[in-house]
């Protein structure tokens, strides 16, 4: 008798394993710090108090969460139809680019017109970047490779614009645009860095969760991603879902880029992303595809990123060294996560043997073996 097939046991044990893995990684990073002569306890208390200790830390965390969650959605939505989108970084820059062109060219408009236009532009830019990968996928080019390569193209395109036509006139030759007019800026909450863009990821996650759990689209996405063969047999339009998933995912990453330039940077310049696109991919992967897990994984990674800034100041470590902790956490999670008994069970369920009797989707549902509220472990197999 395999007890682990009981969903509640799976959930409990995977949460416990996840927590254990993260603690193990933190311990390993602590040892690393001790080896190079830094006090690990002081470092961890600096990370935690820096990110969660005061209102400033919370505001920083919120400001980081906005792009990270949007980029995580950019990876998680395509992941649901079985696509690997590692291009949120490029889609982020694509959104920033198109939003900037609106901010610079339509700066005479009032804020209540200009900001919505910039949001649309940001979404469009990201969707364009994701859509290219979607079209390439439909004609048979793997999206993991194309999105990875397109990242570099987007970064260079931003470089080109800020070094060239958009360079601030008389701005000491710095590579950035003029500061946006006030109407193009998303307002912040008071004096903090956290800003009204926080509603974008909140709405995004809520819609994602709702579509996934309650709509036909969400169901069909899970079928296509979970069992492509069953999807084909029941005539689901996989190509359209591929394109739509990359368009919407890319668009959300583009919104992140727009929010970053509009609310945080107030202008376009190179290097605005801080690797948010890659963080989003990792968060999406850590979450195993569940919307709640997504938010949790994003929070964890964002705390580490904010903590990295703190470590840089307090312990004199290079800012990038928190990537060690990030890598260790992923190693441990990858190492302890079981390959998914439920995933095996889902595959062991034979594909449809007899012609569908009722609605094709009922049969598919039985064949795929995905309950509407798929647990983390169940999605594991789908996602990996």
């Amino acid at each position: 008798v395999n007890l682990s097939l009981n969903p509640s046991v799976i959930i409990q044990s995977s949460v416990a394993r996840l927590a254990g893995a993260i603690l193990l990684a933190c311990a390993a990073f602590g040892v690393c710090l001790a080896v190079i002569g830094k006090d690990p306890f002081a470092a961890y208390s600096a990370i935690l108090s820096g990110a969660l200790g005061d209102s400033y830390g919370w505001s920083e965390l919120g400001a980081k969460l906005i792009p990270v969650v949007l980029c995580a959605l950019a990876a998680a939505i395509p992941a649901r139809v079985g696509l690997v989108n590692v291009g949120a970084e490029g889609q982020f820059y694509g959104g920033a680019l198109v939003a900037t062109s609106v901010a610079l060219n339509l700066d005479m408009l009032p804020g209540f017109v200009l900001l919505p236009l910039m949001l649309i532009a940001g979404f469009t830019g990201g969707a364009l970047w994701g859509g290219i990968a979607g079209l390439l996928r439909i004609v048979g080019l793997n999206e993991a490779i194309s999105t990875l390569l397109l990242n570099y193209v987007a970064v260079l395109l931003v470089d080109q614009m800020v070094h060239g036509p958009w360079k601030e006139p008389g701005g000491n030759n710095w590579p950035f645009t003029v500061e946006f007019v006030p109407a193009a800026l998303i307002p912040a909450f008071g004096d903090w860095r956290i800003h009204f863009g926080i509603f974008l990821p909140i709405i995004g996650v809520a819609v994602f969760a709702y579509v996934l759990a309650r709509t036909r689209w969400g169901f069909e996405m899970r079928v296509i991603g979970g069992n492509p063969e069953a999807g084909r047999w029941s005539g689901l339009p996989a190509a359209q879902y591929f394109l739509a998933a990359l368009l919407i995912g890319g668009g959300l990453a583009g919104l992140a880029g727009m929010a970053e330039i509009s609310a945080i940077q107030h202008r376009l310049r190179p290097g605005i992303s801080n690797g948010y696109g890659y963080l989003g991919f990792l968060a999406s992967w850590l979450s195993g595809g569940s919307p709640l897990g997504l938010v949790g994984a994003c929070a964890l990674l964002s705390i580490i990123v904010v903590g990295g800034d703190v470590l840089q100041v307090s312990a004199g470590l290079p800012g990038a060294s928190v990537n060690i902790l990030m890598g260790l956490i992923l190693f441990c999670v990858l190492g302890v996560r079981r390959s998914g008994p439920s995933a095996k069970a889902a595959k062991a369920e034979p594909a449809i043997q007899t012609p569908p009797a009722g609605s094709p989707l009922d049969v598919v549902s039985a064949a795929v073996g995905i309950a509407p509220n798929a647990s983390m472990a169940q999605v594991d197999g789908v996602h990996a």
Partner: protein, 309 residues
């Protein structure tokens, strides 16, 4: 040739071709390494991380000991050890290979930022030009092909050796068999997981040496994140090369050529934007992958399809 425009063009061409051979070398190491790994049915996006570790370890050891040979050995060792993590996760734990590769790259990025910081700005002799006697004196060909550092020569020899290895040796056959169908290979008496471990680690060693070529022979410096996506380019170039070592050389020369011509064109002050020229390798790779996608689908090792459909 006396016309100044012709002289400039000749100089750009000569410089570009020479640069293509030298700047492509680091990418070719990583491409060959990733090719071995993928032929065993494993994809390693940690190639980027292995290159970084190689570049950092190679530079650090060379600065500390003054001996670039030790630096190259350290680079290979570092790359191989990092790849071992990926091998454990991907082969023994059957974890998601794409996620594991990214994790390795993140880890390497942090590790090299931390350990490499004392070496930022350090000066080294590194691996200098070692012209091959006689051949190096040939008029144009000598300049393009035979006036490089030792690691650059080595990688082109390595490509040829790898092709012979894969095609004509028992071990090469075993490697390919595991990548095509591990179950069949197992029933034929091979041990697929051991072979996959070995292939991933060899890939890491090659990538590490590629990183060392970059820091010791090409730039003579260490900068945080200096590989700048070359490892990811290598992964794309393996598909571009249809998993064939000699075609990998062709792909790398195209890539290196695009980079080198860009530098040459900049140095003579052409009005073309350097950022557009920088995009060329990525767009070129995408374009070729697109055109060759049918052939690519046929050439993909069967074991990779599950991950990389």
């Amino acid at each position: 040739v006396t016309d100044p425009i012709q002289m400039v063009i000749a100089a750009v061409l000569l410089g570009g071709l020479t640069g293509a051979v030298r700047s492509g070398a680091s990418v070719l190491y990583a491409t060959l390494g990733e090719l071995v790994t993928e032929r065993a049915g494993i994809i390693n996006l940690g190639t980027e991380g292995c290159m970084l570790v190689g570049a950092c370890a190679g530079f650090g050891v060379t600065v500390s000991t003054g001996n670039p040979v030790l630096g190259v050995l350290a680079a290979g060792l570092g790359g191989g050890l990092l790849a071992l993590i990926h091998a454990f996760l991907a082969v023994s734990r059957k974890a998601s290979q794409l996620a594991s590769g990214f994790a390795v790259t993140f880890f390497a990025f942090g590790l090299t930022a931390l350990l490499g910081r004392p070496f930022v700005g350090a000066q080294i002799e590194g691996l200098g030009e070692a012209a091959i006697p006689l051949l190096g004196d040939l008029p144009i060909v000598g300049h393009i092909l035979f006036r490089h550092d030792l690691l650059t020569y080595l990688v082109y020899v390595l490509a040829l050796a790898l092709w012979l290895f894969l095609r004509y040796t028992r071990w090469g056959l075993a490697l390919r068999a595991v990548g095509e169908n591990a179950a069949v290979a197992f029933s034929a008496g091979l041990r697929p997981s051991m072979i996959q471990y070995a292939a991933v680690m060899v890939g890491g060693v090659f990538s590490g040496i590629g990183g060392a070529q970059l820091s010791l022979a090409y730039t003579h410096t260490w900068v945080e994140g200096m590989t700048a996506g070359r490892g990811f380019i290598a992964v794309a170039l393996v598909a571009f090369a249809l998993w064939h070592p000699l075609r990998a050389v062709l792909g790398v020369l195209l890539f290196g050529g695009a980079l080198a011509f860009q530098l040459q064109l900049q140095s003579v002050g052409t009005p073309v934007s350097p950022y557009f020229l920088d995009m060329m390798p990525y767009l070129l790779t995408l374009g070729v992958l697109l055109v060759w996608r049918q052939a690519s689908a046929c050439a993909t090792p069967e074991g990779l399809r599950a991950i990389f459909g």
